[in-house]
Symmetry: C2
Subunit: 296 residues, 2 copies
């Protein structure tokens, strides 16, 4: 007989939905994905979409926990950003249900305040962080459209910083002369490393960007390798900005090819203790642990 | 009787052409503009376009000097980048004619080399710099698509740095979530100043960009003012990167509204001696002075 589900976990990103049947301990039994991300849904569309994707799972009288952008402003129900430092108990204490779905509980986001003013935010990554182990004075880096660097302390989230890296890469490639003829990154590790090196040595990213053109003019960078160099510049700018923390262990969560590039850039920036964790497993584990706190 | 022309000056930019009749001393007598910039012309199209715009001026047996992108690779004739430091005599000694137009002489660009490797370039701005007065240990800033910060020394060009500012602003506005609903900058000086302030205090522009979103979430930045804040962030990033030179006088050359914003950002960054010069006059004056060197 198969292991029974104990929790329905929902990870509702801006452009993607994932629903999971989760067993005791946080293991994912089954998972379904759907392209109807929170970014395109109005308030009353969330419940029908969730039922469309997983009505059979929702009838089993299991708790449903949902992290990510379903809790953003103007979406299913606006959830607050909890101020850092924030622990898993703080998250669990703040979950709340959308008006049309009392059986679903949304996880809040986390925020950094500086001098009382909102300075940075994250939604979804907080749950992943609590699904990871060994979080003493670490950095959890979630690369992507908006890369999040999350500092942990005593098992909680101590602070975070967001870089516009992924979106900026796409915008520069599509919208500037640097992108002319540029393909996808991933083919030239050496060009990537040179981009990282430039970023680590040049504190002015908007000037470093022009070097994509100069390297081409000088015959040192082919059109085929330009995407790797640009990727190196932008990921390198993140590493450069966080290099004062390179004595910390880093846990990377995200797509494998991207994590591989971040690992290389982190090594160039002097980070010596870097490991990669599976993002989906971290989300499921984080939701499970929030459920455990809730059922105490 | 009107003053006679002594020089035909041509400023051939990437997206615009300007031809000028220039009198003794560098004064512009007449000027014509055309949208056929060098960026869209093949090698054999330059002479016909120039004749189309100013055939009547070209018959008067006057010298013709042309600065800008007509000398870029793949255009009328590829002109070298002269290494900095470069004086006006170096520029004059390197002028050369396209094969199909022996009466036209193109002005070379200038370049910075670091450890023997090409590190930055400019075309067109070198001529403007030599058209300005009082160039002892100054900074000439030419804002725009690619902003150029040019250092002068002993009347020559000592070095330069290019920032992708204008192009990056357009790409971020068009291609990222930050640009959603964003209008044109220019309406909110306070939001601009806050963007500059953030850039001056945060050495990580790709993280600072995310603050456009956070400021909006926090209710501190309206959609109407977001373009000004973003403009402040990117111009502020330039000023921050050059702040170690804020004891130098600065001459701004460019469009008036843009120069006004740069002047404000420079003041915020501690630059105390800033003046604005007319770009077209500077080009004409620079071409005139090169002609004077050539006729010695």
């Amino acid at each position: 007989m198969s292991e029974p589900a104990r929790l329905i976990g929902v990870d509702w990103g801006t452009s993607n939905l994932r629903v999971m049947r989760i067993a005791e301990g946080g293991r994912v039994l089954d998972s379904r994905s759907d392209p109807r991300g929170a970014g395109g849904l109005s308030q009353d569309a969330f419940l029908p979409v969730l039922q469309d994707v997983a009505a059979d799972w929702l009838t089993q009288d299991l708790p449903v926990l949902c992290s990510g952008m379903a809790g953003a402003r103007g979406r299913w129900r606006e959830m607050p950003y909890l101020p850092c430092p924030a622990g898993i108990e703080d998250l669990a204490a703040a979950v709340a249900s959308p008006q049309d779905a009392p059986g679903v509980r949304l996880v809040p986001g986390v925020a950094v305040f500086e001098n009382g003013a909102l300075a940075d935010v994250a939604r979804g990554e907080e749950t992943q962080v609590f699904g990871l182990d060994a979080l003493e004075d670490a950095l959890v880096v979630a690369p992507g459209t908006h890369s999040k660097w999350i500092r942990t302390r005593r098992g909680g989230i101590d602070g975070l910083r967001t870089f516009l890296t992924g979106e900026l890469f796409a915008a520069v490639r599509k919208g500037t002369i640097l992108g002319a003829g540029m393909g996808d990154p991933g083919g030239d590790d050496d060009a990537f490393a040179r981009g990282v090196g430039r970023a680590l040595n040049d504190p002015a990213p908007t000037a470093a960007l022009f070097s994509v053109r100069v390297e081409g003019l000088a015959g040192r960078l082919s059109t085929e390798s330009a995407a790797d160099y640009l990727s190196g510049l932008l990921i390198g700018a993140e590493v450069a900005a966080q290099a004062d923390m390179n004595d910390r262990p880093v846990i990377l969560i995200g797509a494998a090819p991207l994590c591989r590039r971040y690992a290389a850039a982190l090594a160039q920036g002097g980070f010596q203790n870097v490991r990669v964790a599976d993002a989906a497993s971290a989300t499921a584990q984080g939701l499970w642990r929030i459920r455990e706190v809730l059922s105490r």
